[in-house]
């Protein structure tokens, strides 16, 4: 054979859902302090939505399976009755996906800021 090509097909990069984007952005903002309760609070505070914490867990679980975030269990903490936290941080695939989502969003929104604000 003179020419041989091998493909390495990774997990298909699917576009992120809206809530997935919100969760990923919260993870980025919270950095080392990103865990279930803080992520929920951050999204609630900024979007004004009421959230079920289990919905956040489900989404984080899915993002982890897609390779967008990784998690680890932290040290025991006094303020939580000695209970440990599960921390999350962005992985490269998650960063790529978030960047793609953000650029798609900004490209689509470019030049529309005024009109979008004017929408009721």
């Amino acid at each position: 054979m003179l020419h041989r090509v091998e493909y390495t097909v990774g997990p298909m990069e699917q576009p992120l859902g809206e809530f997935e984007q919100l969760v990923l952005m919260a993870v980025v903002r919270l950095e080392a302090d990103a865990y279930g309760a803080t992520i929920k609070r951050d999204i609630e505070a900024r979007t004004g939505r009421g959230l079920a914490i289990s919905a956040v867990y489900t989404t984080l679980d899915r993002l982890e399976q897609k390779g967008c975030v990784r998690s680890w269990i932290g040290e025991p903490t006094a303020e939580r009755g000695g209970r440990r936290r599960k921390h999350f941080e962005l992985k490269p695939a998650g960063a790529r996906a978030l960047r793609a989502a953000y650029s798609a969003y900004t490209e689509m929104a470019a030049g529309l800021e005024r009109r979008l604000k004017a929408l009721r």
């Binding site: 865990y35 279930g36 309760a37 929920k40 609070r41 079920a52 914490i53 289990s54 919905a55 867990y57 489900t58 269990i73 903490t77 303020e79 939580r80 009755g81 209970r83 440990r84 936290r85 599960k86």
Partner: protein, 881 residues
Amino acid sequence: MTSRLERALIRAAQAALPRGDREWMAGDLEEEIVRTRETRGRAAAIGWLIAETLRNLLHRAARAMPRPDVRGWVPALVQDFRYAARLLRRTPGFTVTIVVTLALGIGANAIVFSVVNGLLLRPLPVDRPDRLVFLQGSGTPAQSYPNYVDLRDRTTVFDGLLASRIAPMSVHSAGSGVAPVRRWGYLATGNYFDVLGVRPAAGRFFTAAEDGVPGAAPFAVIAYDEWVGRYGRDPGAIGSTIRINTFPFTIIGVAPPGFFGTERFYRPAIWVPLSMQPQIEIGNPWLQRRETSNLWLVGRLKPAVTQAQAQASVNAIAEQLAREYPGPNRGMSVMLTEPGLLGSVLGAPVRAFTLGVQSLAALVLLAACVNLASLLAARGADRRREMAIRASIGAGRARLMRQLLTESLLLALAGGAAGGALAWAASRALSAWRAPLDLPIQFDVHADPRVLAFACLVSAAAAILFGLAPAARTSGADPNAALKGLSERAGRGRWSMREALVAVQMVLCVVLVSACLLSIRGLQRAATMPLGFEPHGVTMGAFDLGLAGYSRARGEVFQHDVADAVRQLPGVDAVAYSNSVPLSLDQSHNTVYPEGAVSADRRMPARSAVVYQVSPGFFATIGTRLSKGRDFDWHDAAGSPHVAIVNETLARILGTPDAIGRRFRFGAAGTPTEVIGVVEDAKYQTLTEAPTPAVFVPIRQRYSGTTVLSVRSRERIDAAAIRQAIAERDASLPVYDARPMTEMLGLALFPSRAAAVALGAFGVLALSLAITGVFGLVSYAVARREREIGIRMAIGAGAPAVLRLILGRTALLMLAGATIGAIGSRLLAKLLSSIVYTASPDDPLVLAGVAGVMMAVGILSCWAPAVRAIRISPTAALKAE
């Protein structure tokens, strides 16, 4: 900080969290509940925690669900069914073959099951039938009335013990202007309806208190069908007076619809208290006789009593009774059996027979399923490319299996529906059928939900049986090899299971087809066989003077008058009467002791003979040839020396050179009777019987009130004319069996007809089995060896060589099967000839028929695949590479 209540709630909520994640999730919950309390208050915080716990549970449940949810699954199934239907429509021959085979197989099973259901499984139409037992005597199923009374009074294990007996009655609705009719009913003890626990549809039932003094309870309960049919559901029928055997009875009630008592085969029209026995069976009062076992006993077990306890108690009483009445009750025993078919008297043979037929039917279906499996496998081989393509574009094996199983399920559904319809129609016809008898024998075997469920179950089982293996094989094919056109290795050398099975099917087919042809030819011959009398041109009418209350003197005058009157009818050649005629259901026997013939051990050689009481002119009327001596005349009457005419078989036993003048007695102590004539032998009870001794005695000498009038006429006369002649003399006398004598022969021919129909049905089944079996085998061979055949043709093999390749083994199989089958059918013919009137297995028409059928099977089953093999184009077969 959290309060104690909050901590308790969090602990409870923890249970809803996944074990591995419990700690950090509970931590999050604690943080959140504190924050919620601080911002929105305590109550809101607790509400939030509870809601959050519920949501958590829901999320976990959703995650546990399989990924491809119902919304995707249903359309896929519909798609499968549509695809399967389209595919099956495209190959109508294949589809029809399978559906017909299945319909026959499933239909046969459902029909047999509906009989099993009707005769054995369906409960009796009474209250809690499982608590009823039949008290079966040894030898006869029945018990005598005194023994019944003793059993009833001494036992403590029954809530009630009833006794009943079937009896014909002459029923006349007073003032209705309608002639009396002959009806079969029950004589039943007063507690009969109580013990069975049925409620009247109208009026009331008679009671134990009323059934005491003989003759004091002239009450009748009529069957529901009788009430509808004869009284048009008239409530006024209750309380009206009817005459039974000329005695007035009052109709007091109507039995509920569908109620027929305790015996499944008998359809009574009327129930009368047992104390009325002397009025119902005139001239034969037996209620006080311990020797006369005429009653069927059914008991209802007390709630806490087991069948074993009851049997022990009944055994003890039977032993007592045997001790107390050593004469009539010697060796008395009572066995508790299931009611419905005279205990085990009919029950045991019916059970054995139906079980045998059901297993045969199951075997047939099993064989049919194996055939269908090989047909589907052949088709599967054709579809390997399709499956391979589907597999290589992403269909999983499970998906392919599902597609293939859907196809076989669709086929099974169609076959099951057709088979169910077949069974429904057949079981309705069977239920409506009534034996051509005066006795109302009927079997209710209509298809009920149980039969339907059975058919569905059988269809589903069939689908799995014939669908699974081919589906596994087809869907499991290696797509790579299939796409390249590599076929499976064609098996050579060893005989496969499938091939052996086809040979067995050939055997079955030959045996059943020849049995069917034998019995059909037998039927044909029976229609022309010498019976010893000539039924064509004879019309009959029967009446019972005993039931009508006639004395012997009045009866003899009446018989003579009626015969004279009928003789005056236009076209009548001869008239005679007798107590019975040959080949009717009513045959009496007696023991004949030749006089003077005492053997060395001082015992007289006695012979059992059929006995007829006949009028002068009887032989001329029914067409029996008198070979020696003279016929009776009117002087052979009471007071003159006893005379008899015997048939040739008995004449040979009585002595050579001829029997005229020989004497014999009926019973060791009977009156000496002299033989005055000899007539030709005839068939008396069945068409298949060997020559049987028969004695004819003058009815004027030995009177019988039961009268069968036989009328020979040049042109066919209407049975109604005979009825009319009798009615003119006594309008209240019920006439039965008024019909041409040939019609009565239907009864004698019935076993042969039933056998021909049943064997015909199984023959058709076996044929279709053999055809689909061979067809499947050959098709499969062709499909698997398509490439091989193509290559052979490309290098010069002609059509004959290809056919030899494909059909060689099959032809060998068929030949072997047919040979074994031919041997088997000769054995079966022997067995069959004792049951039905059959042709000889060497009958040329039978032999030719079987040979023709087998050739047809061969051609029909091999034609299509052979043609396909010859038409294989070498280029196309090789292009697949």
